[in-house]
Amino acid sequence: MPKRKLIPLPSAAFQILLALAGEDLHGYGIMRQVAEQTRDRMRLGPGTLYSSIQTLLDAKLIEETEPREDAKLGHERRRYYRLTSAGRKLARLEAERLADLLRLARAKKILRGEYV
């Protein structure tokens, strides 16, 4: 898939930010959410997931919340992650950037169709 290779984003970080836009999630929840929103094209492995989370935490784009149980997944306490305002802003900026790109692509008649 050369098309995807040439485009640096959507990156794992952006997808994680988008996944957390709806609700706070734990690691596995993020992984599932990302898989769902990319129609299973991106399944984050643990290494990528947690190194991305670490990076996002360091950049204060997300934050950790109190560990709690996920009723659906048993009694283990899990760390949940929440999107910070900075993270939300970045996600929006990135989305706008992509929208700009789309507009550009349409203008150049590279992309047709009404969607997005």
Partner: protein, 511 residues
């Protein structure tokens, strides 16, 4: 399982990462394992994990955090579209070449592995190879080393292909069990012969089928026949009945059910009989080649061939040598039939007559005729001596015809050289001379032949050897059957002659 492997793979990450996220990462894999069941889901899971490892492990060591924050700053500045790649430079030709090479190697090795024929090993064989079972038994019965096993196979089990002196030696006089063995019988116990057998299996699919699959009905038939033969032929009817009952009982209780491999089954039956009788001359044998209905009797052409082979080989007597200190040395590679080789034997003994000490080299002796054993032994005594032989009933013939007129060997020191290849009749000679303290045995423990029984066909592939004679063993049992004759002086077969010469010299000097 997946979780354990992943826990191990986690060690690829820097400890900082493991400490912070190791437990969570494991939890994630656990969650996925629980949610994604089935072969393809698992496969996808593992592809994800491995792909992820390949990407994220290097990144974990070379964090790209500053780039992301830089990117953030860049976005905040509000300028136009921005691209950010994690790798600043495209891959160099060296990396591409190396990666290509690695991929090629992986593809090639994978296809090689796919095409590689791996021998199918039935589960039962693996179970049987467990410590303490077959290996243990082989230490007390049958050939003990691969080398012994090979000779065992060549010499004693399948000797009837061509006029070799060894085969000929066991010809006319001992035509019972030995002949039956010549049909390619494999011994039930001993790891060696089984190895040979598995080698044969590779060559023949049919044989493999015959060897591997044994159903209950077949086992029952073999047990029934074996028990009947015991009752009919075994020398002690009381013990025979006990053994037959034991065999049937084991079969009924399902003790034999695990033995789906024919050789293992033969071994098992042998052990069951021996557990009752402690008779090492009893055995059940398995043959991959179908057993003929009637063992071929020695025919006149056979006799003629034998005679010719013996004449060509000087009856397997090598020329007598006189070593320093007047030590006579005779290498004898079988005990040939007296009716053919009497004169050769007498001539050889006459050449030894002047010696002050005698060394019989039986390291390559595969056995042969009891008559020849008696003939040669007779020279070594000044009075008739009883020579125990489990193959024959105790009769007048069991005493040597000593003294031999003109023999001066009756009081000379005698040394017998043995090896793991020393077999059957040669063990008869060694055992009795050792027990009579007439000779010093120098070398290795002998092969431990159990070929004293009459062979009875049980079905197309199974047979059993039952000893139907009753010789009186004046020495404590057991004899050499299955365990061999222990040397008095244990040295490697290759060093036996040198040692015997030294022993003879020191003995002669003392005189």
């Amino acid at each position: 399982m997946s979780e354990k492997i992943f826990a191990w793979l986690l060690h690829l990450f820097p400890s900082r990462f493991r400490k912070a996220y190791g437990e969570e990462a494991l939890q994630l894999v656990r969650d996925r394992c629980r949610d994604e069941k089935g072969f393809f889901s698992r496969l996808r899971l593992w592809l994800d994990l491995l792909g992820d490892l390949a990407l994220s492990v290097p990144r974990a060591y070379f964090p790209v955090q500053h780039e992301l924050t830089g990117y953030l700053a860049h976005l905040r500045s509000g300028s136009g579209p921005a691209f950010l790649v994690l790798e600043e430079e495209s891959l160099g030709p060296g990396a591409l070449f190396f990666g290509g090479l690695l991929t090629l190697a992986a593809v090639v090795s994978f296809s090689v592995l796919l095409n590689h024929r791996v021998k199918h090993v039935p589960l039962s064989a693996l179970i049987r190879a467990a410590p303490g079972s077959a290996d243990h038994r082989s230490s007390s019965f049958g050939p003990r080393t691969p080398e012994q096993a090979r000779d065992f196979q060549q010499g004693a089990i399948a000797p009837a292909t061509g006029p070799q002196p060894e085969m000929a030696a066991s010809g006319p006089e001992s035509s019972n069990a030995n002949d039956a063995r010549s049909n390619g019988l494999t011994r039930p116990d001993g790891s060696g012969p089984r190895k040979v057998q598995s080698g044969q299996r590779l060559g023949s699919a049919d044989a493999a089928l015959a060897g591997a699959n044994l159903n209950r009905a077949e086992r029952r038939r073999v047990v029934r026949e074996a028990a009947a033969n015991l009752e009919k032929h075994y020398i002690d009817p009381v013990v025979a009945q006990k053994m037959a009952d034991a065999l049937r009982e084991h079969e009924k209780n399902g003790d034999d059910d695990a033995a789906t491999d024919s050789s293992a089954f033969a071994e098992l039956l042998t052990q069951q009989m021996r557990d009752v009788s402690h008779d090492r001359h009893l055995e059940v044998l398995y043959s991959e080649a179908p057993l003929p209905r009637r063992p071929p009797a020695p025919t006149p052409p056979f006799q003629a061939r034998y005679r010719k082979a013996m004449e060509q080989a000087n009856c397997t007597f090598e020329p007598v040598q006189t070593l320093p200190h007047n030590i006579g040395y005779l290498k004898l590679d079988s005990f040939p039939d007296v009716s053919v080789c009497q004169h050769t034997a007498e001539a050889a003994m006459a050449s030894l007559n002047h010696a002050d000490a005698v060394i019989f080299d039986l390291r390559d002796n595969r056995g042969g005729s009891p008559g020849m054993v008696m003939l040669i032994s007779a020279y070594l005594f000044d009075h008739p001596e009883y020579m125990y032989n489990p193959k024959e009933n105790t009769t007048e013939e069991s005493w040597t015809r000593s003294p031999v007129p003109g023999s001066r060997l009756a009081d000379k020191p005698v040394f017998v050289l043995t090896s793991g290849r020393t077999f059957s009749g040669a063990e008869h000679f060694s055992y009795d001379l050792k027990m009579l303290k007439r000779a010093t045995i120098v070398g290795e423990t002998t092969g431990g032949a159990t070929d004293v029984g009459t062979f009875h066909r049980l079905d197309d592939h199974f047979g059993m050897g039952i000893r139907e004679t009753r010789a009186i063993n004046p020495y404590a049992e057991p004899d050499w059957a299955g365990i061999g004759v222990e040397p008095d002086v244990r040295v490697k077969a290759a060093d036996a002659l040198e040692r015997a010469v030294r022993l003879a010299e020191s003995k002669l000097q003392k005189k």
